[in-house]
Assembly symmetry: C2
Homo-oligomer: 84 residues x 2
């Protein structure tokens, strides 16, 4: 059967901010992750995080379910940058 | 041009162990991640970890570059289970 037009980006795959950060060693990586944890708890925002020994990937979604990335999200991203 | 046969799984995408764990809240998730960090440092093994507010995904690769998953890897996976 023919398929209807599919909107892109998909509604279930909304706009987001991503950043990859590399560290010289696990010690500095862990130190950053601890500060990020504290910031997350303080702000009540929990981005999706992937990490290995010397890298962290952060994915930040908009606060609301169907809202685009806005000022509050860029401010939170800047606060994360401030931890570095 | 014709392509040669491609081995699967690809050599650059080797065998690994994966486990997803869900938590009732961020507090218990964070507590688990801290224990996992301590275990990683103690063993000198740093699996790839993804997490959000209430979940953790762990990907464990074999110790050696070209070695299949073996006893030491299953033992490390069991040690992670022991943290729960």
């Amino acid at each position: 059967m023919d398929q209807p037009w599919t909107p892109r980006p998909k509604p279930e795959n909304p706009e987001r901010l991503e950043r990859r950060i590399e560290f010289p060693d696990y010690e500095s990586n862990r130190h950053f992750l601890e500060k990020l944890n504290d910031l997350s708890e303080q702000e009540g925002r929990f981005p999706d995080i992937s990490f290995g020994r010397t890298y962290v990937n952060i994915t930040l979604r908009a606060e609301g379910a169907d809202t685009p990335i806005g000022e509050a999200d860029h401010a939170f991203a800047a606060a994360i940058d401030g931890l570095l």
